[in-house]
Amino acid sequence: MGDLRFGQVIGYLPDLLDGVVVTLCLSGVSVSLGLVLGLALALARYSGLPVLNWPAYAFIEFFRTTPPLVQIVWLYYGLPALVGHDLDAFWSAAVALGLNIAAFFAEIFRAGIAGIDRTQWQAARVLGLGLGDTLRFVILPQALRAVLPPTGTTVIYLVKGTALATAIGTPELLRVGQLIALETFRPVETLTIVAIAYFVLTYPIALAFQALERRMAASRI
């Protein structure tokens, strides 16, 4: 069959839209979790205190070096077996992806913080600023500039990574696409539309990060 027929698939657009909403929610939850946890892990690593550094190090390396697909499956099927308490398919995927992305954010943030000259910490210290204020007003605002581009890339990677939730049946974009493909026998057309949907979701994120970068560059003069 040499021809491509999109007509049949078009009828399923409302279903695909539902999938887009789930993908967005998955991304939103896991990115939020990842940012907060990632910053905490980065600070724990940067602190150099063994009690904080080592658990953070173990967490980061564990989640960086095992496949996110397996992490999702562990959380969905493994957690109930371990603690007798289960998460539904959406939350299993959201939490697993959040923990996974936190490990990557942590390394980005740690590098960003480490990139700030030691003399900035010293200047804050002799002014009497505490650790919290030093981070909030001196270090993190400067680190933000450096971490913005890799953070944007990681967020985009994560949005597409939510497709892994298909494995446990979360009705996100790719899962919906697969079901439509099964019904219509038009996998190429369906997946092409799914890919376009991912592009429509992620490209604005790329643009937003670029705009943020430009704004930060301009505000410094």
């Binding site: 002799v126 505490g130 204020d133 400067q142």
Partner: protein
């Protein structure tokens, strides 16, 4: 013994600072009275900057004590000592301001924000109040028209004057200056030294590490010569420059004047 009224503002008592096996400060004792300007000179690696950094509590010390108004704010890590009163300690730590060779302004903040940050966050001043204080200080250092500019837009001399204003905003009783003109183009040195002279005239207690012998001669009450982690000699400037008691001091000053002779006078 002297009563509390004449008690020195800062007392350094047999302070030892080591990095690993290397001893950088070897039992330094020094006292500075309120209103005194003390200039510390010496060859590079003699420990003068480390001395200031220990005073500013940027470095822990291994032995000895640093007292401000008779209260130990730093104690050697190798010594057991009673825990000092935390509240008094917090207050006294704000009594020391420091200005660095590399300015270390916060590049993402305007000059005004650089100066108001610590008064607002550490002293708990209201934004309006902190701003009024900052504007007054910027006027004193001649930067009132640069308040809304980011540091990158300033010359080195302007940045250093902004850094002085920032340190003064905490209303410290002692100001430490760590080679604050060494990173400046020669034509910008004068404006920073002028600001420092002004401070000295207003009675600020100052500890100044510098290679500007003219400043030492004119402004210092006492000059301290350090070499290899120890204080070799302490004397008023006219004596130390005309008739140093120690051979090492003399050799250092001769080398310095020889080098400076070609380019500019020592003044």
């Amino acid at each position: 013994m002297a009563g509390p009224a004449s008690q020195p503002l800062v007392v350094i008592d047999r302070m030892v600072k080591r990095y690993g096996a290397e001893t950088v400060l070897d039992g330094i004792s020094l006292s500075v009275s309120a209103g005194q300007v003390m200039v510390v000179i010496g060859p590079s690696g003699s420990g003068k900057s480390t001395l200031l950094r220990c005073l500013a509590r940027l470095e822990p010390i291994q032995q000895g004590r640093i007292l401000i108004e008779g209260v130990a704010v730093s104690t050697g890590t190798e010594e057991s000592s009673p825990a000092p009163d935390a509240a008094a300690l917090a207050r006294l730590r704000h009594e020391i301001g420091m200005v660095f060779q590399s300015f270390n302004l916060f590049p993402h903040l305007t000059v005004l924000e650089n100066v108001t940050l610590a008064p607002r966050r550490v002293r708990g001043m209201a934004p309006v109040e902190a701003e009024a204080l900052a504007i007054e200080l910027l006027r004193r250092v001649g930067l009132e028209d640069k308040r809304d500019v980011h540091p990158a837009r300033l010359s080195g001399g302007q940045q250093q004057r902004a850094a002085i204003a920032r340190a003064l905003a905490m209303e410290p009783r002692i100001m430490l200056f760590d080679e604050v003109t060494s990173a400046l183009d020669p034509e910008l040195v004068g404006e920073v030294l002028k600001t420092m002279r002004g401070l000295a005239e207003q009675g600020m207690t100052m500890l100044v590490v510098t290679h500007e012998m003219g400043f030492a001669r004119d402004v210092a009450d006492d000059v301290v010569f350090m070499d290899r982690g120890a204080i070799v000699e302490r004397a008023p400037p006219d004596r130390i420059f005309s008739a140093p008691a120690e051979a090492r001091t003399r050799a250092f000053l001769e080398r310095l004047l020889e080098r400076e002779g070609g380019s500019r006078r020592a003044r």
